[in-house]
């Protein structure tokens, strides 16, 4: 296992890979944590707008030194900026966008993803309560939901499973999974292993995945030098 450890993608590398899937013209919502690293990896020529559910369309990078505005934050409560052509809206308009199918993609962290696309990311089974935030609305409404996470839990347990055992966030919504080991698509036929991290084999990924992976033509995740 020690060899495999070194072949795991870093958080930046997962974000860079997910960024490649962001298409020109998309409006995208990024969940708290790893997903917020995606914007820096999007090629300059691609026009991707970011939606932050606290009422910001056209979220930009963190402010330059001395230019922070205390009234301009992301859903993750970080100081941010607005890009030209953005707009401020109130919370119900913001969630009308999210629920109404106007987000081309939401990239969310996950505790567990099931083979049918069930997303679990708001509460652990041993907790009596969780912080749901906007995750349920955004997951239920986006055209695509990308799960972005480590492939396994800290204790080595699989996070990609045949059937979920964790509390549900939204049923059947995940369309693609980006982990430190692989890129996996959720299809009507089941989970398709699209790419594995350099140095890993498809079988090694299958070994830590609790759902069968369809392996037709498995590529390698490209890593920037």
């Amino acid at each position: 296992m020690s060899d495999e450890q070194t072949n795991l993608l870093t958080r930046q590398q997962i974000a860079a890979r997910a960024a490649q899937d962001m298409e020109d013209g998309w409006l995208v919502n990024l969940g708290i944590g790893m997903p917020t690293m995606i914007p820096t990896f999007i090629p300059r020529e691609r026009d991707v707008m970011f939606h932050s559910e606290n009422g910001l369309i056209g979220m930009g990078p963190p402010p330059a030194e001395g230019e922070a505005d205390q009234d301009l934050i992301s859903a993750g409560k970080e100081l941010v900026t607005m890009v030209p052509g953005g707009a401020y809206v109130h919370h119900t308009d913001s969630f009308a966008i999210a629920r109404g199918g106007r987000l081309d993609c939401a990239v969310l962290g996950a505790f567990q993803v099931a083979a049918n696309g069930d997303l679990c990311n708001w509460r652990l089974p041993n907790q009596t309560s969780g912080s749901v935030g906007g995750a349920m609305d955004i997951a239920a409404g986006s055209k695509r939901v990308f799960a972005m996470m480590t492939h396994t839990a800290r204790d080595g347990a699989a996070k990609i499973v045949a059937e979920r055992s964790y509390p549900l966030t939204a049923g059947g919504v995940v369309t693609r999974i980006f982990t430190d080991m692989a890129v996996i698509s959720v299809t009507p036929d089941g989970l398709v292993l699209d790419e594995v991290a350099p140095g890993l084999t498809a079988d090694e990924v299958q070994a830590v995945t609790d759902a069968p992976l369809i392996m037709n033509s498995v590529g390698t995740i490209p890593i920037a030098a």
């Binding site: 939606h51 369309i57 056209g58 953005g86 401020y88 009308a96 109404g100």
Partner: protein, 231 residues
């Protein structure tokens, strides 16, 4: 950046197909996208369902759509105004279907569609003819009618200014249904008096964010409600 600007009227409206449902903005004459409507007339589309507040005025605008035989069904709040004589003639001849919806319910049904919701409970219409066939529910002792979302294939709206992202502002009571219809359609087409540069619209004052706008066509100012020659 995706180019949402249509250079010709035909480009703006040509994707509208026979049988489509069109949400058409305006209340009275302010906010009616008269130029886009003329564009649809010129396309000679058939079997359209039109969702709009009024049933047309004189022979222009929506009345022209009726007169040229483009419309199979009208969903509106106020069909029987004197100036809607073209519609009345078609209706009396059994050539057009009519669904009457209370005005607040009409607006809310479109917002519900745009917001990804499946319905809402309104006190409007409880016990009336317009609630016949609809489910009613009691919440905290008060009766409500369950109303369903109203989607459009296209929204045809009118705005005052647009930037290249499609962000819109409106003018006075020309606002009316337009921002709501923009949310509720698969493809939203805007006729707009003026286009401005990116960042020329203050992000605090935008009424319709560009995410709801697919295509816009710049008309300049024109006097509303005048009969124009068909192009």
């Amino acid at each position: 950046m995706k180019n949402k600007k249509a250079e010709t009227l035909e480009d703006a409206v040509s994707r509208i197909h026979d049988g489509a449902t069109l949400l058409i903005g305006g209340f009275g004459q302010p906010g009616v996208p008269e130029v886009l409507i003329d564009g649809v007339c010129d396309l000679k589309r058939r079997d359209l369902t039109i969702v709009t507040n009024n049933a047309g005025t004189g022979h222009s605008g929506i009345a022209r759509l009726f007169e040229e035989g483009c419309v199979a069904k009208l969903v509106c709040t106020f069909p029987w105004a004197k100036e809607s004589f073209v519609f009345k003639e078609l209706y009396d001849a059994g050539k057009i279907e009519l669904e009457i919806v209370p005005q607040g319910t009409l607006a809310e049904r479109m917002r519900t569609a745009g917001a990804g919701l499946g319905g809402f409970l309104t006190p409007t219409g409880v016990g009336t003819d317009l609630a016949i066939g609809k489910e009613t529910m009691t919440v905290e002792g008060k009766d409500y009618v369950l109303e369903k979302p109203l989607h459009g294939d296209f929204a045809l709206i009118k705005a005052y200014k647009v930037d290249p992202r499609g962000n819109l502002i409106y003018r006075k009571t020309g606002r009316n249904f337009n921002p709501i219809m923009a949310m509720a359609a698969g493809h939203t087409i805007v006729e707009v008096q003026e286009d401005v540069e990116i960042d020329d619209l203050d992000p605090e004052v935008i009424v319709t964010p560009g995410v709801f706008v697919d295509t816009y066509y710049v008309t300049g100012w024109y006097e509303i409600g005048k009969e124009r020659n068909a192009s």
